[in-house]
């Protein structure tokens, strides 16, 4: 029987790994998720097969409660509320670890008969689990707007208090490891960790929350691995450690994508100065995106309209644009180019460039023809154009460009704008398009940006 369990465990975590690999690619993600879920079922079944298992009623009760609570919660949550749901699920995972560690402490009389590394692992799990649980609850509260999204901080007190709490928790742990087996130590440890979790997450602004959730997720993984060491359960070690490792990488990727650094975010939790960055953006937030994301969005569109402008000419990006167009077409995506009558700086500027790059004439669409197609367009890719897409030309009679017909890109499902900065075009005016919720900005020289998108497309 133990051999069977061993094999089932191996199969289970092999499926986790395989599933995770799948989750990193758009084509395989859905399947990857279910493969990992199958792995989980196998792991649970294997555990239940352990010789000498009992307490079946309570086990069934626990699992039952979990299902009754978890399934509807996951089913009903709105798409927009997903991140806080993940925070919550992560939190309860951490809570479970903390609780198990506590029971472990109680049933072993403070690890009196266990090797020291088991005590260390178990207490580590308790500490991290508790922080994760309470920290995640705060994250949930902030995102769900139960708590205010802005940073809540104790100012100067923040940092000393956090340090005191950390020292208290670690102190209790050291005492236990040293052999003191009063349960109060464990309870103080759990409480101190809990308050620490609250205090660290409260000062972090809503914009940084996803990164924090991911970080807590990685921590929970580590705590699970520690618990696995303590319980000598290989499945826990492997799965926990994989989550710990992949979670940290992922946190890093996410922080990079948001132009934030993890130390800065965490420092915020410890009373450092971080909140400013998220503050200034508030009034006119701009969503910036990456070449990889642009590539995914393009690859999963069925209709893409490229809107070239003066910036494409300055960057001399026409050849790269053409290559991108061809790549998309080879994936069965319809691609056209919307040529505004005054795009660029001379009549026919875009034509000259696109002809040079050998874009077929059939794909060049005049403004009047293409404007009716934007509502069916999945992605409008604005490459170095600005004024010719500016809605002020329609809405603002005081604008210098009022009355000019414009390309109606904002009617499409999603708009991606490639330019180097937020600076204005020929007419020298701001463009509201860039601040619309469906718009995201891919900053950089048009030629290099398009080049990167092409590369990403090839890797998809």
């Amino acid at each position: 029987m133990t051999d069977l369990i061993a094999v089932l465990y191996i199969v289970a975590f092999a499926l986790f790994i395989y599933g995770l690999m799948g989750l990193t690619g758009p084509r395989t993600a859905v399947r990857g998720n279910w493969i990992a879920a199958v792995g989980m079922v196998i792991a649970v079944v294997a555990t239940l097969l352990t010789p000498g298992m009992g307490n079946w009623v309570l086990i069934a009760l626990g699992i039952g409660i979990g299902i009754v609570v978890g399934v509807p919660a996951a089913r009903r949550v709105k798409m927009t509320a997903m991140p806080q749901m993940v925070a919550l699920f992560n939190g309860v995972g951490g809570g479970a670890v903390a609780l198990i560690a506590w029971v472990e402490f109680r049933t072993t009389d403070g690890y009196s008969a266990e090797p020291r590394y088991i005590a260390i692992a178990s207490l580590f799990a308790a500490l991290i689990g508790s922080i994760s649980f309470w920290g995640s609850l705060i994250a949930f509260g902030k995102l769900q707007e139960i708590l205010p999204g802005r940073p809540i901080t104790l100012r100067a007190l923040q940092q000393p208090l956090n340090i005191v709490l950390l020292l208290a928790a670690v102190g209790c742990a050291v005492a236990v490891i040293a052999g003191v087996d009063a349960e109060v130590l464990m309870i103080v440890l759990l409480l101190a960790a809990a308050v620490l979790g609250l205090m660290v997450v409260l000062p972090i602004g809503g914009a940084d929350m996803p990164v924090v959730i991911s970080l807590l997720n990685a921590f929970t993984g580590l705590s699970a691995a520690a618990m696995g060491l303590a319980l000598d359960n290989t499945a826990l070690i492997v799965a926990g450690m994989i989550v710990g490792a992949s979670g940290s990488i992922l946190t890093n990727l996410m922080a990079k994508a948001m132009n934030r650094s993890i130390p800065a975010i965490v420092a915020g939790g410890f009373g450092g100065t971080t909140a400013v960055a998220s503050g200034t953006r508030e009034e006119r937030p701009v969503r910036s995106t990456t070449a990889a994301d642009t590539a995914v969005q393009l690859a999963y569109a069925s209709k893409v309209v490229v809107v070239p402008g003066y910036g494409m000419a300055v960057a001399q990006a026409q050849h790269a644009v053409r290559e991108m167009g061809q790549l998309l077409e080879s994936k069965g995506i319809s691609v056209s180019y919307a040529i505004h009558p005054v795009a660029g700086r001379m009549p026919g500027h875009m034509n000259v460039l696109l002809a040079e790059a050998d874009v077929p004439y059939e794909q060049l669409k005049e403004m009047d023809d293409i404007n009716s197609e934007f509502p069916q367009t999945d992605v409008a890719l604005v490459i170095g154009a600005n004024d010719v897409t500016n809605p002020a030309a329609r809405s603002d009679p005081n604008s210098p460009i009022y009355g000019m017909p414009i390309l109606d890109v904002s009617a499409s499902r999603s708009v991606i704008v490639l330019k180097r900065s937020m600076s204005s075009g020929f007419a020298g005016i701001d463009n509201d398009l860039f601040y619309e919720p469906r718009t995201s900005m891919l900053f950089g020289d048009a030629k290099s940006s398009v080049g990167e998108v092409v590369e990403e497309l090839k890797n998809l």
Binding site: V314, G344, P347, H349, E356, P400, M404, A427
Partner: protein, 367 residues
């Protein structure tokens, strides 16, 4: 003015020799007719563009005395005889050279005509569709390069052949406005190595955006606060010296440098021409304003120092088909601005375009 009868729009036949353009083409006749206007076309108006009268009538126009229409559309400025044919109260639209042909405009004023000059439409974004200077400059820039390629005794593109390698022609464009940029783009297409120059330093990026190099004469004209400052006499001389030196490197020089209402600046000196390779070509698009080249004789081809200097006066008219189409679209946009929803004349002089374009008879128009 006219209340019940629909407004009549006259399309006249151009009388100046070599003016092959026409102010309206059938496609846009249709559009005006749909707006409720009557379009009267002088027989033979489209001959220069090879547009038969039937094509106009098929589009909804009538043939007749276009000169007596309420609104007369022209391309070139009217001659004295033509002004005489206009009845008082007529609204005239066309290129009228308001800055240089002061007498012509005065004559119109005298004749009681309300005249709108296409050149005077303010170059604001909203008026881009009426910007005939741009559309005709595009044609001119393109044609200037064809002309240069025609006259040059050498290839534009590089060719490596069994009988030796032909280097690409070097083309310099002075003045990177609409015509200049179009010329740069066209020459690049034909395979030449292109370089552009302009007094406005901010145009450098635009020159590069058509694949050309920017000719940097190395004179910094940036003064306090980033504003351009007036060049000293010495600097100006130094600039001219360097330009002259630069020009001798090029097989083809196309000049388009204009300063509205003033004599065109002299950029290509006789000395520069002497330095150019034998068989070279200068195409001077500023001929009408005196020319950018010292040796230019407006409207004629001159061969000096083995270099051909062409100065076509009306290059756009040499490609009448598209030139007319684009011009007709510009004019139509203006007509539509002058006419209300019911097809009646409604001159709103509070509109900066209407006010800016009107060069004669404004009071009459306002009445």
């Amino acid at each position: 003015m006219v209340e019940t009868v629909p407004l009549s729009v006259g399309v006249v036949r151009e009388s100046i020799p070599d003016e092959r353009r026409v102010a309206l083409v059938p496609k846009l006749v249709e559009r005006l007719v749909r707006r409720g206007l009557r379009v009267v076309v002088e027989p033979g108006a489209g001959a220069g563009v090879l547009l038969a009268d039937e094509l106009f009538t098929a589009a909804g126009a009538e043939l007749g005395d276009a000169w007596h229409a309420d609104l007369v559309l022209k391309v070139s400025p009217p001659t004295a005889e033509e002004v005489a044919r206009l009845k008082a109260g007529t609204v005239l639209i066309g290129f009228l050279k308001p800055l240089s042909d002061v007498e012509g405009v005065a004559a119109l004023e005298e004749a009681g005509v309300t005249a709108f000059a296409m050149e005077s439409i303010p170059r604001i974004t909203r008026a881009q569709a009426m910007d005939a200077l741009s559309s005709q400059s595009s044609v001119a820039g393109y044609r200037a390069v064809l002309l240069a390629a025609e006259r040059l005794t050498r290839f534009f593109p590089m060719l490596t052949t069994a009988a030796g390698t032909v280097p690409p022609a070097k083309v310099l464009v002075l003045g990177a406005g609409v015509a200049g940029l179009q010329a740069l783009a066209t020459a690049k297409r034909l395979g030449a190595r292109t370089t552009g120059y302009d007094v406005r330093p901010e145009v450098a990026d635009q020159v590069r955006s058509v694949g050309a190099q920017w000719l940097d004469l190395g004179i910094e004209a940036v003064g306090e606060g980033g504003y351009a400052r007036e060049l000293t006499e010495q600097e100006r001389a130094e600039q001219q010296r360097r330009l002259t030196e630069a020009i001798t490197q090029f097989d083809v020089v196309v000049t388009t440098a204009l300063v509205p209402g003033r004599k065109a600046p002299t950029l290509v000196t006789a000395e520069a021409v002497r330095g150019m390779p034998a068989g070279g070509v200068v195409v001077d698009l500023a001929g009408e304003s005196g020319g950018n080249c010292e040796l230019t004789e407006p409207g004629r081809d001159v061969v000096a120092h083995d270099v051909t200097i062409c100065s076509p006066l009306n290059l756009a008219a040499e490609m009448p088909g598209h030139a007319s189409e684009l011009y007709a679209r510009n004019v139509t946009e203006l007509v539509e601005l002058l006419v209300d929803a019911e097809g009646r004349l409604a001159l709103d002089f509070s509109d900066e375009i209407v006010a800016g374009a009107c060069v004669a008879g404004r009071e009459r128009g306002e009445s």
